[in-house]
């Protein structure tokens, strides 16, 4: 199976940057994910929302990538939110306790309303 790469698009809104992720978050995703995060940060938003609704696979390397994004966000006192995770990956975020440090919402609308 050829490794599917990650695609990411950034939408800038007042005070919020939304990163739409598509594909798989694994070792191959590192560069693209970090670049997208840097782009999201570029207009100094208060919060950054990672939209996982089109992500079908996250492995432990992917979890590590998300942990480093969370570390970056905390350093610059920015809130990092997640939305669109499938039930299974919500469970993974619970097991890894990522949910204690980043709010997880069912969808973009509820995340932005928070």
């Amino acid at each position: 199976m050829p490794a599917k790469s990650l695609e990411a698009q950034v939408r800038h809104q007042p005070a919020v940057s939304i990163v739409d992720l598509h594909g798989e978050i694994n070792a191959f995703a590192e560069e693209r994910l970090n670049a997208a995060y840097a782009e999201a940060e570029s207009n100094s938003p208060e919060l950054i929302l990672l939209n996982f609704s089109d992500v079908d696979y996250i492995n432990s390397t992917g979890i590590a990538l998300i942990v480093s994004l969370l570390a970056r966000a905390r350093k610059s006192k920015r809130r990092l939110l997640a939305c669109g995770l499938s039930d299974h990956y919500v469970e993974i975020f619970q097991i890894t306790r990522l949910v204690d440090f980043m709010n997880v919402f069912p969808d973009e609308k509820s995340a932005l309303a928070s």
């Binding site: 490794a3 070792a27 492995n59 390397t61 590590a64 969370l70 440090f101």
Partner: protein
């Protein structure tokens, strides 16, 4: 103005397409619309070139051309033609009969008609394109649907489980081409412990091949229940299917009957590729002659038998592998396959080895032309191998354990190996999901298992095998009444796998620790039990999922 809008037919030109198109120009005054014969214009008719170069309306009576279309237009009473030209292509004609006032068309009439043609031509072209597009989409959908049906038939009928016979090891792999070929294999179980092994290939592809495959499979299954001798079985199948399959279609098929107790293998062959047997002296073919099934009635088949010694193995395969081409259009070929079978000692990983060799041969852009099917049969060498399998069964038994003697009843649902290449974690989890499909795990449990398998595979590829593609990870899926076990084994030595500890997320977020190190912790939390064993040459991670309700882990 007495315009007469007639329908016409014109062969689309310049695209080499065979289908003709009928275009009806709706007239403003329907009551005056007069039907005229449809006019076909051949692409090489000189009138086409004339129309393409004509500036506007053309008076038919003034034209002097040797043109069948011109004659047809005249015969239909057409007086004036306004070509509809879009982007240099003639897309239609506006045909007008005589003016109702019996006067000639005036300059004003022509200006009006020319303007109309300029407006109408692109609209007609767009309509034609839309229609072509729709036809293409429909054709594509039909093909896709057919492919799905063929694949479904094929996959439904191929064995879901591999035979688990003490002292023997079987592996099988079926890789369908996009346009599914008619490959199949089958295992038949007999009460006296004997095992039938079938491999075959139907000429043709798609749904017809899949249907013939289905027929052959069921006829063979029923013949094998009544007759013992493989040659008689093939004879019966040939006579039964001869009347039922379309002319020019036939089936190559090899049927072998193994007595696991003695190693005796009887076989007959209806024109199928000769299996390779790897033994101490090298590699040889299992030869038996016979015509393919379905070609001619009343054929008889040669029957041979041999004794498989411990350590020997046999590769059954279809022509998909030997006839695969590389970018230089060389074939993989029988000699290459035979040589590779001789080179690879480990029967358990032979299929993966061959597939890896095939991938190297064909290159990354290979479009698989035909189904690739392989089945291997291996007689375990002596005590050692069975000892390992007994020991692991015991361990599993212990685990699922509640003193019930039937607990040791583990059957292998699937086993395979994969190269240690980034991304193959995903492959492992999909294949495990496929293998456990018959168990109907709840979605949540299945997702948990899949992630655990992916993580364990990634660890094995990374830490055990250091991502060396030719060092393989082996995966084994077993099930009993009470539990499911997935064993993932690398070829790493030395460092034992550490026991899983909860990662310190706070330290990671403060960047005091690497953000990594989640794999084992995740696995432990996703399955009911994880057992790690290490020896000098392997690490094995065994994932257990309890199938009995109430036994599952609390998550």
């Amino acid at each position: 103005m007495a315009t007469l809008l007639e329908r016409f037919r014109q062969r689309r030109i310049g695209q080499g397409k065979r289908e003709s198109q009928m275009i009806r120009m709706p007239g403003g005054e329907l009551s005056r619309q007069v039907a005229s014969p449809a006019i076909d214009i051949a692409p090489n008719d000189p009138i086409v070139a004339y129309f393409l170069s004509a500036p506007g309306a053309v008076e038919i009576d003034k034209l002097h051309l040797e043109s069948p279309a011109l004659r047809a237009l005249r015969a239909a009473g057409v007086k004036l033609v306004v070509p509809l030209v879009s982007q240099g292509e003639l897309v239609g004609l506006l045909n007008l009969g005589p003016h109702l006032s019996e006067q000639d068309y005036s300059t004003d009439d022509r200006v009006l008609l020319n303007n109309l043609a300029i407006q109408a031509a692109p609209a007609v072209r767009v309509a034609q394109l839309v229609r072509e597009q729709q036809a293409q989409v429909r054709a594509r959908e039909r093909i896709e649907q057919e492919l799905r049906v063929a694949r479904l038939i094929q996959q439904t009928l191929l064995p879901k489980d591999l035979p688990a016979i003490p002292g023997w090891r079987l592996s099988a792999r079926y890789l369908p081409a996009r346009e599914v070929g008619g490959d199949f294999y089958d295992f038949l179980y007999f009460e006296d412990g004997r095992l039938g092994i079938v491999i075959g290939d139907v000429t043709d592809k798609g749904v017809p091949a899949a249907l013939v495959m289905a027929t052959t499979r069921s006829v063979l299954r029923s013949a094998a229940q009544r007759l013992i001798s493989p040659s008689l079985v093939l004879e019966r199948v040939n006579d039964s299917i001869y009347d039922d399959i379309p002319p020019k279609m036939f089936v190559t098929c090899l049927y072998a009957l193994l007595d696991p107790a003695t190693g005796r293998l009887q076989y007959a062959n209806a024109g199928h590729d000769l299996p390779y047997r790897r033994h101490k002296g090298g590699v040889s073919e299992l030869r038996a002659t016979g015509m393919p099934l379905g070609l001619m009635p009343g054929m008889s088949y040669e029957e041979k038998e041999t004794l498989l010694e411990p350590g020997e193995n046999i590769l059954f395969y279809s022509d998909g592998i030997v006839e695969a081409h590389n970018p230089e259009r060389d074939m993989f070929s029988f000699p290459r396959l035979m040589e590779l079978v001789g080179k690879h000692a480990d029967a358990g990983t032979l299929i993966d080895f061959l597939l890896a060799e095939l991938a190297t041969f064909t290159g990354p852009d290979w479009e698989q032309e035909d189904d690739v099917t392989m089945v291997t049969l291996h007689r375990s060498e002596g005590y050692g191998v069975s000892e390992i399998s007994t020991r692991s069964s015991m361990r599993l038994e212990e685990k699922a354990g509640n003193g019930d003697n039937n607990n040791g009843d583990w059957r292998t649902l699937a086993e395979w190996t994969l190269p240690s290449e980034p991304g193959n974690d995903r492959l492992a989890m999909e294949r495990v999901a496929e293998a456990v499909q018959p168990l109907n795990l709840p979605k949540k449990r299945l997702e948990e298992l899949k992630t655990a398998v992916a993580e364990a595979t990634m660890n094995a590829m990374e830490h055990g095998n250091h991502y060396q593609p030719d060092v393989l990870v082996s995966v084994q899926v077993l099930a009993s009444q009470k539990a499911l076990a997935v064993r993932i084994r690398d070829q790493g030595s030395g460092q034992p796998i550490p026991s899983p500890e909860e990662p310190d997320l706070e330290a990671k977020l403060a960047e005091l620790q690497t953000p990594r190190g989640w794999g084992l912790f995740l696995i432990k939390n996703l399955v009911d039990d994880m057992r790690i064993t290490s020896d000098e040459t392997h690490h094995t991670v065994e994932l257990i999922i309890n199938l009995v309700e109430g036994d599952s882990h609390a998550s």
